[in-house]
Symmetry: C5
Subunit: 260 residues, 5 copies
Amino acid sequence: MDVGTFVGLIAGVGLMLWAIMSKSELSNFVDVGSVVMVIGGAMCAAMISFPIRNLLGIARVVKKTIFVKSGDPKALIKDLVGYAEVARRDGILALEDTLKGVDDTFIVTGIQMAIDGTDPEVIEQILVSEWEAVAERHADGKALFDNLGRYAPAFGMIGTLVGLVIMLKNMDDPSSIGDGMAIALLTTLYGALASNLVALPLADKLAVRSKDELLLKSIVIKGVMAIQSGDNPRVVEQKLLTFLPYNQRPTPEDAKSEAA
Amino acid sequence: MDVGTFVGLIAGVGLMLWAIMSKSELSNFVDVGSVVMVIGGAMCAAMISFPIRNLLGIARVVKKTIFVKSGDPKALIKDLVGYAEVARRDGILALEDTLKGVDDTFIVTGIQMAIDGTDPEVIEQILVSEWEAVAERHADGKALFDNLGRYAPAFGMIGTLVGLVIMLKNMDDPSSIGDGMAIALLTTLYGALASNLVALPLADKLAVRSKDELLLKSIVIKGVMAIQSGDNPRVVEQKLLTFLPYNQRPTPEDAKSEAA
Amino acid sequence: MDVGTFVGLIAGVGLMLWAIMSKSELSNFVDVGSVVMVIGGAMCAAMISFPIRNLLGIARVVKKTIFVKSGDPKALIKDLVGYAEVARRDGILALEDTLKGVDDTFIVTGIQMAIDGTDPEVIEQILVSEWEAVAERHADGKALFDNLGRYAPAFGMIGTLVGLVIMLKNMDDPSSIGDGMAIALLTTLYGALASNLVALPLADKLAVRSKDELLLKSIVIKGVMAIQSGDNPRVVEQKLLTFLPYNQRPTPEDAKSEAA
Amino acid sequence: MDVGTFVGLIAGVGLMLWAIMSKSELSNFVDVGSVVMVIGGAMCAAMISFPIRNLLGIARVVKKTIFVKSGDPKALIKDLVGYAEVARRDGILALEDTLKGVDDTFIVTGIQMAIDGTDPEVIEQILVSEWEAVAERHADGKALFDNLGRYAPAFGMIGTLVGLVIMLKNMDDPSSIGDGMAIALLTTLYGALASNLVALPLADKLAVRSKDELLLKSIVIKGVMAIQSGDNPRVVEQKLLTFLPYNQRPTPEDAKSEAA
Amino acid sequence: MDVGTFVGLIAGVGLMLWAIMSKSELSNFVDVGSVVMVIGGAMCAAMISFPIRNLLGIARVVKKTIFVKSGDPKALIKDLVGYAEVARRDGILALEDTLKGVDDTFIVTGIQMAIDGTDPEVIEQILVSEWEAVAERHADGKALFDNLGRYAPAFGMIGTLVGLVIMLKNMDDPSSIGDGMAIALLTTLYGALASNLVALPLADKLAVRSKDELLLKSIVIKGVMAIQSGDNPRVVEQKLLTFLPYNQRPTPEDAKSEAA
């Protein structure tokens, strides 16, 4: 669960409500037709832009990416080093039991192939192409939000143009001009909010989460390949730690004693 | 037939009609001259931007890319593995009969060259340069739609400027100001719709379809080259499956038994 | 002569005239001072942006690129294969006579160096650096039009600001406000037209033409080098055909018989 | 302490105050609600865009990058050459004493590993991955400011739209129109200032500072590796001087005598 | 002295003055406060964006790049070939006398190192890193002008917003509305002019000049290295001529006789 996303969204909406209600009434800012225009228009554009299968898959990826907490690389490295120790001590077949308690299908698939004696090149190829498929699904998710962030303001402007034409055609009653124009502006307001408070920031967050998750998968690939080749658990750890920045690693003293 | 494109377009147009007709009359939003200005202007810009031969070829590519359903990579791989089995069992010449039932001229050309004993390098070179030509035709198609998506709003604005100047020159009759301005805004509205509901989303969709089709062609090239070199059908399959993401592949158990 | 460019320009101008004259008088849209402001301003910016020698050279390149029809790659390949046959049959010196009827100085220079026994590396180096110089001249031409396409609207806006300030300073006579504002808007209109109907589309067309012409030059370079090394004319043809897309090549049957 | 940043910020704010107070009263330009809208909205967008841990870390990096003066590469090179002399003269273990007076943990870590006899490849790998982590933290900092520079004007426009709708709904009292519109424009003004006077220039400055600091770290890495391999201090100096531009180096005469 | 820059600037300013004075009075367009706002604001942003040392160095680079005429590559090549002839005929030490009359410190430094018998690798490294430092100084200069071209319109808009708020707060006197708005628009006008007539075109010109000057430096580096290695003057010439486009080179006949 990504706290920042929810706090940011709720605070942003609260901010808007406070800004409106401190000086006016909320009802002045609610127009169902305008909402339909902006959100509906942007969704139509998205349906034309992307294949339907992508749209469905994207929803799932987005949900998973935002709600599921991404793992901790240090814990993952510790786990993988543990597997390497088991394999070193009891033979690689002993990992079969260990795998039973593991949830991550990516790790299970990789190690299972190693246990089965699959050719290392084939293992790496399969894991890497899964990595690439995940990266592409994430990129599709980001592309969808960037797309919505681009079309929501465009349909906001389209709605305002429609409202302005309606208003200009009914100028006989001057008292209605203010009202007509206020409603016309609402679609632009909705489009700007949908884009700047929701779509574009979520696109950015998806990019960050994708990077985190792909780092984990990269660590797994390197770890599985090291386990498969029967590396010493210390060597496995050292190889995997290179994925971590300095300040998330063991202290130099540890590194020294390990390298000794 | 790409369902999303049609649903998106029809829903988008329906949305506009609903938005207009629930508060005004459609006739207020129809002005043939404004349509001619925006669409005509954007087309003139496209005629200057691209050679005529491209414009004609592009129409064909676009039609094909949107209306023809792109093939299924898994079925294609199955077919190619089948050809490899025939070639392995009965000799490559036996493929001549098999080819008679195949529609895809790209596959036919490739395998025919293999049957004829054409030099492998020449086969690959010819197929790759066709791949590149297809990629370029798709890119030309996308460029045209991006171009229209850029010039339609520009000519929308130009039309509005013309309308505003006309209105400002006729300010003697104040009652006509609203009407004149409403008409002036229509070109901007048309330009925004042509760009955001049609041209730009179609450009995005073309890019996706192009990627799909080029993937199929890449699989064919790798498959033909493997068949030509007399690879074992299992090896052919394994080579081709690397083009597919993980979740579209046979399960690891299958992969294991194949690798065994 | 590139027909599309002229048809597009004339149709675009005709469209504007029709749009204006069907609802107003042309005289309302003509203001010499505004034309001078927009075109003059954009040209001043171009003079500061580019060295004068570039501006002069660019005019020549643009004229040549738009008015001279680019050659046909298939005819060029046929010519080069013909030269290869002469060289093969009668010795490379026999090409001296053949060259007399050739207009393209790029071909003449290349083959003349081959006849003179110039070192192949030097030949290639000289031809390639000419290729690069042509590419750069074309890129300079495109940059100039992109530049005008960027500055024309900017000076259009500057002109409108000047017009607005003048109008606002003369608000004593309300009847002149409409007129003043109409004139102020003309520079923005001119800038938008100069950019979207002329400068930007021409920049795109220049890029396409440049690609075509550089392809021809690439074919010549590869052809001259093959002739110089005494390649078999069939081999020369095969090498050069790789520059062409599939559907512009001889049919596979031809390719087969040639490869046999 | 980066003087330019402070002078620029203070001069910019002073300029605004002068511009306002010479023609109006400051109170006309202060509206707490508008400030909250713009800054709060941009911050909500940032919270959704970036993980919370990044936001916290970024504050630290920014503070350090702006307030801490970046070191002088020439002095650093002199120091490193000094360490190389000690190592050459008294053995690498003699550096242990020297390190006690050194503040820079990056240098200390590197040399300590060299003293401990850590494998050179491991040393380099650890230092390089720290370099990359620093580069990424700096890039995160720049991304945050670019983000604020993009969202502040967006929420400024959103605030203005809200203000306009409120104003248009209260047009019964014409005397309040000017006031309502003035307040509506304040959020756009705040957004433009926050973006153009603070966020975007700071993003640029962070990029420059990052480049400076990473250069220092690159020099340290090369220096530590040279000391570790027992290079002659003259060779160490020559290697490190290649990081400096010409005019910050010893004169050619010096270089000559050293190379002799 | 770059004539185009001055003619363009003077013609552009003249154009503005003519446009203004033919329809209004210059005094309507002069407002010192607005100038201070736009130029001062953009300069504050630049001070925050770049380190002060860069700003100072940039002024020098810009002056030199715009006012100093860049050399002629052909003359430079002739000079370098001349030095190669001296070195070949009288030994490299004989160049010491020749150098006395040479102004270009880059050439002097390079050849002096060759005379002194400095290691060729060291010579090249020092010259190349100076090349890179020059390239970076030029890029800094371009970045500053791009920066001003971006911030000047931004502060123009900020000034207009300030002016509009002041005007809206003083709507009691309707006769002053026109005046207030005219003054408010002046900052936008100044910002657009500063950006489109000065900053952005100068940034483009700097890029062109930088390319020219770096080409000269590249020729010097290649020339010095060839002289150092004792190449035949003909070979030196041929190597250096590859930097020139075709139509600036000796004719093919010359090339032929030289290659013979």
